[in-house]
């Protein structure tokens, strides 16, 4: 087994892993692009993928004489994030972070520094761990630079093109405490955080489009010792990259320490293809950002009534939805917890709840949602548009009553997703009318009688003959029989014939 351990082993160990007596310590900085119609300080459209430099104006291009005006909706989304992360939402101010970069039109970024809007919160992960939130502050995004010609990298490019459509897009940066102890847990944190951001309407959660961006601060130490020197890892574009990068970086730092070396404080770049991190800049090259209060903006002091209104209008959060779903289906155990997590993550809990409310068994509804619906969703989320919660509830009820076998129920559900018809109509068109227990028993007896040689072999103990009989019964009933019920009847007949004189 590799030094990194298998995924399964990591799960068994539950978060913290042991690296030759060291533990890894991770804090994450997540930049979330807010789902506002316009940018943070001007009226330009906040949109991804438009023609370069079409969503710009004097303000977001930083033209001389232009001034920022704060977008109220961005503030509201930031407050929703703060409330969802159990933060203290407080009066705040903006600062300027000064550094030269071509994709930053003013050569400073308007951000929040020592008095951010949200502080001191936490996020509970599905596995039970709690990760502290230091702050979640508002700031503006930069433009996007493309280096062209030469090798296409900043150092050998012939020229660079800058698209300022993204410049001034509102961001909330969420900074966690260094409470994360493994790559797996880092993934769990970001995955849960993403679900929260989507739930409160602050983000579309698309990491691949850069609307959610993650930087990881990684250090190692022996448990109980003070924190070690940390490295900041950039370019983590997916959950997979994040997990791999944290594990790689931990291993790299442990190897350094074990071989008598020391970790240097630096910023490192994750190379997804090569599977390793490389130095971007050392501590000595770190910029002095010369922060000072932004004189073009006034202090931000959301009044209590506004906060109260936002708080009341908050959508239920994933953790609460999972709890509610578990309660509702009355499920227990790790397998159920995992199904519940899947169902909530895919936004399918409404279907399960509707089925339970209609009197269908919760465990069955959960199973159909976590397996069939989630799979369909993963393939094409728009499939769900056609599915009425009431129809799903009817389907689960039909299966529970034995009107449909499991196989039939899945076939009907698949068609419900494409046609939007009620399950009763589909079942009757397919000829899936109920097979009462008496006719099934008669069908089994007829098949046994017609295949006496095979029945003898089965009686002699040739277990695989059971499959033959199930197949024959299926054929005879035009697939209406339930495999499990046929097996039970066969066993019953076997007992009966053995006991006969």
């Amino acid at each position: 087994m590799s030094a990194y351990g298998s995924e399964r082993q990591r799960r068994r160990e539950g978060g913290a892993r042991d690296y030759e007596g060291f533990e890894c310590v991770v804090g994450l900085e997540v930049h979330c692009e807010l789902l506002t119609a316009t940018k943070l300080f001007c009226g330009c459209k906040n949109a991804f993928g438009d023609e370069p430099n079409t969503n710009t104006c004097p303000v977001c291009l930083g033209l001389p004489g232009s001034l920022p005006v704060l977008n109220g909706h961005a503030v509201e989304l930031a407050m929703r994030i703060g409330l969802a992360l159990n933060c203290t939402v407080q009066p705040s101010i903006f600062h300027r972070k000064n550094y030269f970069y071509p994709d930053m039109p003013k050569d400073y970024q308007i951000s929040q520094y020592d008095i951010p809007i949200n502080t001191d919160g936490y996020l509970d992960l599905p596995s039970g761990a709690r990760v502290g939130i230091v702050r979640a502050h508002i700031e503006e995004d930069t433009g996007k630079t493309t280096h062209s010609g030469g090798g296409g990298r900043i150092h050998d490019a012939m020229y660079s093109l800058v698209d300022y459509n993204r410049a001034g897009v509102p961001l909330v940066e969420i900074v966690s405490e260094p409470d994360i102890r493994s790559g797996e847990q880092a993934r769990e944190y970001v995955s849960e955080l993403r679900a929260v951001l989507v739930a409160v309407g602050a983000s579309d959660g698309r990491m691949e489009e850069g609307s959610l961006r993650v930087d990881a601060n990684v250090s190692v130490r022996r448990p109980g010792e003070p924190f070690g020197t940390r490295c900041e890892i950039k370019n983590l574009n997916s959950l997979r990259s994040l997990g791999r990068a944290v594990d790689y970086e931990t291993r790299r730092q442990v190897d350094l320490l074990v071989s008598g070396g020391a970790v240097a404080q630096e910023t490192r770049h994750w190379d997804e293809q090569a599977g390793h991190t490389v130095v971007m800049r050392s501590k000595e090259e770190a910029e002095d950002y010369r922060y000072f209060p932004e004189p073009d903006l006034v202090p931000l002091a959301p009044d209590a009534a506004w906060q109260e209104r936002i708080s009341r209008a908050m959508a239920p959060l994933p953790a609460g939805r999972r709890r509610a779903l578990l309660d509702s289906v009355g499920a227990e155990g790790p397998a159920m917890v995992e199904r519940v997590a899947t169902v909530v993550a895919q936004d399918l809990d409404g279907y399960v709840m509707a089925a339970v409310d209609a009197g269908a068994p919760g465990a069955l509804a959960l199973s159909r949602a976590a397996n069939e619906l989630a799979a369909a969703c993963a393939e094409d989320a728009s499939l769900l548009d056609a599915l009425e919660p009431g129809h799903f509830a009817s389907l689960v009820a039909m299966e529970a009553r034995g009107d449909l076998t499991a196989t039939q129920a899945k076939a009907v559900l698949a068609e419900m997703l494409t046609s939007g018809e009620p399950p009763e109509a589909i079942a009757s068109r397919k000829g899936f009318e109920a097979l009462d227990p008496g006719s099934l028993r008669r069908a089994v007896e007829e098949v046994v009688a017609a295949n006496s040689a095979e029945w003898e072999r089965y009686k002699e103990g040739e277990a695989k003959m059971a499959q033959f009989f199930v197949g024959q019964v299926m054929k005879a009933t035009r697939q209406k029989a339930d495999g499990k019920a046929v097996m039970a009847l066969l066993a019953d007949l076997l007992r009966g014939s053995a006991g006969a004189p």
Partner: protein
């Protein structure tokens, strides 16, 4: 006596004054005297004639015209005017044409003012003599061997030389009032936030205000009324309505209590002090109670200003990096291109202040410099608040001296900075202040008396200024 704006607009509306002829009269003066004065960076002769023609035909057609109909106005070259170059007297913006109008200029144009040109200034408004201009110095129309003051020296000179009826300038540490005093015109810095800064190229954002320069207090007051008022494009713009200043009765100072700030007067030239005493006496004669007062905190205003203003400037001027607009000096990589562009594009004084400001904001020094200066600013505001419990307005010289000679101080930054010692406190406090010409001093050069007032007390300030104007020798 020159006509007031009110009289011109009345004349234009009644048809007695032809706006085209009026503009031509000013353009002719510009043509004759601008080469020796250098008050403008850009003269907008065609634009001015065209606009005057439009107003003339509207009057002829009986259509209504605005409160500044046909009035020739000059504006400082750090105010964005769509389509015209806006250079801030800097090489780095030599060919930049803004795609939008500053709010104050939209408001002037909406009232049918005629913008005759963009005036010379110290580069990015950093200076007190209009000598730090990439386009060469402006000369004082009262004595061509002397400076007009600065940084709005071009605007002050344009009014003094009758190139325009009035002008707009910007005042960060005295840049409207000090040149107004040096050129013998009225200069008014409004309460911070009363006038929109949208489209004013920033020097020090927490101090900058746009304001009028004019031949009379009434003209300055009318211009202020027009440019003032809330602007949703400027977050620091106050939610206060534009003040009503025009047509105020100012025949008496009865009931007013006025303090002469000792710390701002003691260091002034004897002849400047003598004029200040005469000004005080004239206010007493008009019925005011006038006494000497002490605000020791104003002595710390200058050093605090020279930390805060450069700190903000170092950040505000970072955007001139050669990437998006203005000058670019090419190089193999971006950081070198940035550095070369800025090295060639900025003049010595701008570089000096960027370095000062960068230093003041460095990690580990912030609290000792920027932080300390902010605390001084807070103390100064409290001291002013205490003084305004006793006085309706405060009086001081606008500058310790009259206009000095060209090149006299250009190599001595500290001596140059000291010419703003009386004006800086109002900027730090965010309070309004006005400079009114009051006789002459050394070599017959004009002396300015400064009237300061609490925030949004422009009406009281204008009333005192009008009495001084009427009493001026």
């Amino acid at each position: 006596m020159a006509k007031t704006i009110e009289a011109i607009v009345a004349g234009v509306r009644s048809g007695e004054i032809d706006p085209v002829a009026l503009v031509d009269q000013h353009l002719k003066l510009i043509e004759e005297n601008e080469p020796s004065t250098n008050a403008f960076i850009t003269v907008l002769a065609d634009h001015a004639r065209q606009k005057a023609g439009e107003i003339a035909s509207r009057v002829a057609a009986g259509d209504p015209v605005g409160r500044l109909a046909g009035v020739p106005v000059a504006v400082k070259d750090n105010l964005c005017l769509r389509g015209a170059p806006t250079t801030c007297a800097s090489r780095i913006l030599e060919h930049w044409h803004p795609p939008y109008d500053a709010t104050v200029l939209s408001r002037l144009l909406a009232e049918d003012a005629i913008i005759v040109g963009k005036t010379n200034m110290d580069e990015f408004a950093m200076g007190s003599s209009t000598e730090h201009s990439a386009r060469g110095p402006t000369h004082n129309p009262r004595d061509m061997t002397r400076v007009p003051g600065g940084s709005s020296g071009g605007s002050a000179a344009a009014v003094a030389a009758r190139f325009a009826q009035a002008a707009l300038g910007s005042d960060t540490g005295g840049s409207i009032r000090q040149p107004a005093a040096f050129c013998g015109v009225v200069g008014l810095k409004p309460t911070y936030g009363l006038v929109s800064r949208y489209g004013l190229v920033a020097f020090a954002s927490s101090l900058d205000q746009v304001g009028p320069l004019a031949g009379s207090v009434a003209d300055a007051a009318l211009l202020l009324e027009i440019i003032a008022g809330h602007d949703h494009m400027d977050s620091t713009s106050l939610d206060a309505p534009a003040p009503r200043l025009a047509g105020q009765a100012a025949d008496s100072a009865e009931g007013l209590s006025i303090g002469i700030v000792r710390e701002l007067s003691d260091g002034a030239d004897p002849e400047v002090k003598r004029r200040l005493d005469e000004a005080a006496e004239s206010l007493e004669r008009a019925g005011a109670r006038v006494e000497s007062c002490s605000i020791p905190e104003v002595s710390y205003a200058l050093p605090a200003y020279y930390l805060l203003a450069p700190a903000e400037a170092s950040s505000n001027l970072a955007r001139y990096d050669g990437v998006r607009y203005g000058l670019r000096v090419n190089a193999a990589d971006t950081p070198t291109m940035n550095a070369r562009t800025r090295s060639v594009g900025f003049g010595a004084e701008v570089k000096r202040r960027i370095m000062l400001g960068t230093y003041a904001l460095r990690a580990g020094y912030y609290d000792a410099y920027y932080g300390q200066a902010q605390r001084v600013r807070t103390l100064l505001i409290r001291a002013f608040d205490a003084a305004y419990e006793r006085y309706d307005a405060l009086l001081s010289p606008t500058a310790p001296t009259t206009a000095f000679r060209l090149k006299e101080r250009v190599e001595d930054p500290i001596a140059m900075y000291l010419s703003d010692v009386c004006t800086i406190p109002s900027n730090l406090a965010g309070h309004p202040a006005i400079s009114v010409p009051f006789g002459t001093g050394e070599a017959g050069m004009p002396v300015g008396v400064q009237v300061m007032a609490p925030a949004l007390a422009e009406a009281v300030m204008v009333r005192v200024a009008t009495i001084l104007e009427q009493a001026a020798p």
